[in-house]
Amino acid sequence: MKARKVRQCCLPFALSILMSATFSAHAEDAAESAALIAKGKYLAIAADCGACHTAPNQGKEMSGGYIISSPLGNIVASNITPSKTAGIGDYSEQDFVKAVRSGINKQGQHLYPAMPYTSYVKISDADMHALYVYFMHGVKADDNVPPATDLPFPFNIRSSMYFWNMLFADNKPFIPAKDKSDVVNRGDYLVNALAHCDTCHTPRNALMGQNNAQALSGGSLGSWYAPNITPDQQAGIGNWSNAQIAQYLKTGHVAGKAQAAGPMAEAVEHSLQHLSDDDIKAIVAYLRQIPAVTQATHSPRDALGKPATDEAALRAVKNPDAGWQVYASSCANCHQADGAGNHFYPSLFHNTATGAPQADNLIATIVYGVHRQADGKDVVMPAFGPDGLFTDRLSDRQIADVSNYVLKNFGNAQLNVTPEQVKTVREGGQRPLIARLSQPAVWGGGAVVVIILLVLLVSISRKGKKHGA
């Protein structure tokens, strides 16, 4: 970091010598400022602040208002433009750091961990400074006041976050591992601090704290599933090449392997595709050497399936298989009659969305579609759930049928999807234990108190180190 600062100062310093005395100091400050703002902007992209704080569909940058539907209820992202009335315009750098690293805003309120402060706590002092300068001087002030977050009881008691933080939020800054290369440490920092990949890809316990002993081995995210990205050959991405992992991060697509949808598509589009090649290399290097976490699976998730031949058997046949009927009429138009896709449309076999141990991503993709822009190119698969046009929409039954057809022919034939599962996915996924427990029916028994205490005891005894290294 220090070396960088010196280099940044060289050019403006040289310029200042050439300029007249009256301008020299001003030029130096301005140039340094501009460089710092640019650095802060890059960091904000890496940390993907805009993912939540910039509302989609032409929302003003960082002005909040985006509703994040968490399993506990709707969380509204705040306005973090330098507006003095609606944003963080009167935050000192100390206030800013406290919010981003500790999850406590200027008013002293605890933020919900939808704001990934548990990862951002690791951001270095220098980077925090750059971020602060960027947010104060590089973002346009917007006076839009978004609605306040109002989660149902008991999650509306923000101060309860104090106890959760005590259990699950690290206060430790990032410490580079002495026995790892600079590149791996940079990757560690990107993955666990800035890009906070762990907040999705690391499994969580019953109280929704990260289970860091199983770091990056996969986690549920509402309707979607963030898969195992440890180097395990069967359960993870151990059978991917470095180039393939890099390509996936930069474009969201590797033919014959995987494509990003849902929250990962957003991460690629708004954040990862903008990272420097060096930073991508660092992320890959880090992921390559974290502990491999095995899970019960017969095959890597990108190695299943083959082209289907049902078109020959079922075309124009009366009352064909219900799953094929949906496939042929809704899916084959792009994925082709045999499921092999082409240049543009992915093959459905050798595809992690269909070969995974869980069907969540397959179902979610059919329900929500795919919307991703990388390198200026749009990738679109329409939604077939309630968001879709009524002329194209599929019922839960139809989505279950076609999911089973796809799984049987192109992916993990062990899985079976029911219409109830489809309903769960399109309603935001399986609700976590604490959300289910918080319902009044359960409260009444008082049993929840006992259960929480038990879980706390168990969790404390299992709390492991944050670093996967």
Partner: protein, 172 residues
């Protein structure tokens, strides 16, 4: 001439088929097994006529449809098969050079080719579609043209950098 030889041809054809098949064709109750065996003959003949591998699933469907639309199809097939076996043509073009539209086996061949190529069986307005995407008529242009309703992908058709026609990425 056709009449005089037809019985001989029929016997020849049946001789080529297994004994079980001969019994099956005499006893309609075992038509299913006969179908399967006859289909093997159908597949061989089809493969010869279209000069490319043919699938057994579509083969069975075309065979059944051709029988539905032509009461004497099985006999006509046997006749054609016998002819082909007799001459042992190396390629369908040789058969086509040797026989023309006035020959009933040639007409049978045309019917079979038409089924595989257009995906449709029948005459006039009494038509039955068996295949659409799998219709062989789309194969000779598969490298450049899509089968309508199946997309090549956004803007795949844009002319290439060096001004050439775009391809679908499939072989012809």
């Amino acid at each position: 001439m056709a009449h005089n030889l037809s019985r001989r041809r029929l016997l020849q054809g049946m001789g080529i088929l297994s004994l079980g098949a001969m019994c099956n064709s005499l006893f309609p109750a075992r038509a299913l097994a006969a179908d399967q065996l006859a289909e093997n003959g159908f597949l061989t003949v089809s493969q010869f006529l279209v000069s490319r591998p043919v699938g057994p699933i579509l083969g069975q469907r075309y065979f059944d449809a051709l029988n539905r639309h032509n009461a004497d199809f099985t006999h006509r097939l046997s006749s054609l098969q016998a002819l082909l076996q007799l001459h042992n043509f190396a390629h369908v073009d040789e058969f086509l050079a040797a026989f023309g539209a006035d020959n009933s086996d040639w007409q049978t061949a045309k019917r079979i080719i038409s089924a595989w190529y257009t995906g449709v069986v029948g005459d006039g307005s009494d038509l039955e579609l068996i295949a659409y995407a799998d219709a062989m008529m789309y194969l000779p242009t598969k490298d450049i043209l899509v089968v309508p309703t199946y997309g090549g992908g956004p803007f795949y058709w844009a002319v290439t950098q060096d001004g050439k026609v775009a391809t679908t990425g499939e072989g012809a």
